[in-house]
Assembly symmetry: C2
């Protein structure tokens, strides 16, 4: 049967290194050399595992989408026993390093490359949609009497506020920026309380 394949594992490692480089240099700036150095491998190995550049970018798109989707699932499971909008907000804003900020940065970089790699659009769109869906369901579950549309809007808003906060991380902004988004999310959540 020959040497055992570590392709699945290696692929993940390389994609992780790719993710780091895209976050730092942008999609086209993440060269094979950068990725190889980051992954601790020789350059030709990158190609061996992920194929040529286009295949790599598309694989990264799938990877980011999968990661976002599985993070959504983790969020859903984590809040299954402790529902409540409040807990959703805490999970998003006060998850100390549990949610990898590279994913958001990388996601944005890929979004901006959709024109060059149209195949990226669907996975990116779908994975964000599931993220929103999870948030919406959490909000709906904790406010069964509230207006359905209002819940969707609040959920979208909370997620979007989180996204912006995450996007500013490389800037090392004053803490007030993060706090404001956090409190704005809480305010949004409160709009459901008063109506119920």
């Amino acid at each position: 049967m020959g040497r055992p394949s570590v392709q699945d594992q290696r692929k993940k490692e390389v994609l992780d290194a790719f993710m780091t480089c895209v976050a730092l240099y942008g999609v086209e700036g993440a060269t094979l050399e950068h990725i190889a150095a980051e992954a601790g491998l020789k350059r030709p190995l990158i190609r061996h595992h992920l194929g040529n550049r286009k295949a790599m970018v598309l694989a990264l798109g799938e990877h980011i989408a999968d990661t976002l989707s599985s993070q959504s699932e983790m969020l859903r499971v984590a809040l299954e026993d402790h529902p409540g909008v409040r807990n959703l907000i805490e999970a998003l804003f006060n998850s100390d390093g549990e949610l990898d900020p590279r994913i958001n940065i990388c996601y944005q970089a890929l979004v901006n490359s959709v024109e060059n790699y149209p195949e990226l659009r669907k996975p990116l769109l779908d994975s964000m949609e599931t993220f929103y869906k999870v948030a919406i369901n959490i909000v709906l579950a904790s406010h069964p009497n509230a207006d359905k549309q209002a819940c969707e809007i609040v959920a979208h808003g909370i997620v979007n506020l989180f996204i912006t906060t995450d996007a500013f991380i490389p800037l090392k902004p004053p803490k007030t920026w993060g706090y404001s988004s956090y409190f704005a999310a809480l305010k949004l959540a409160e709009t459901l309380e008063t109506k119920s």
Copy 2:
């Protein structure tokens, strides 16, 4: 006195082309060839006007920061006679093409490059701060009796919701995404009404 200088004008044109390319290919992916083609000039001219690559990136940082600041000023002036949070939200979300979405995309790309170009941090931080300040003052002006901190939070929230909406534009998302941010911003604004 020799041939009249068009440097100021050309510089702006080249920076505009640079902005377009960064939005499309990322900071490191925006090559001189791309920029030259976009600007309709020969490659060496880019260098003539903006200097080497590092100088170009820093110049773009200043340019984006200046543009953001002047857009903030325009917003301030436009809403001077028609204050009100509602009008702020309309101006942000329903400005049909008046606010260039490339600026936001480019801003994000530059934020992610702060580690490679540390000098970018200050202008990016300062210009976003003035954007927030303008929004805060508009909110404060229309709700003089409301809690000051609440106004700041709402203003931050509205701006951040707008930023996320703008960031998704290259994805061509379903209209509901944009609407949700818009309505979430309105809901945030309403939290001030009920308390006054």
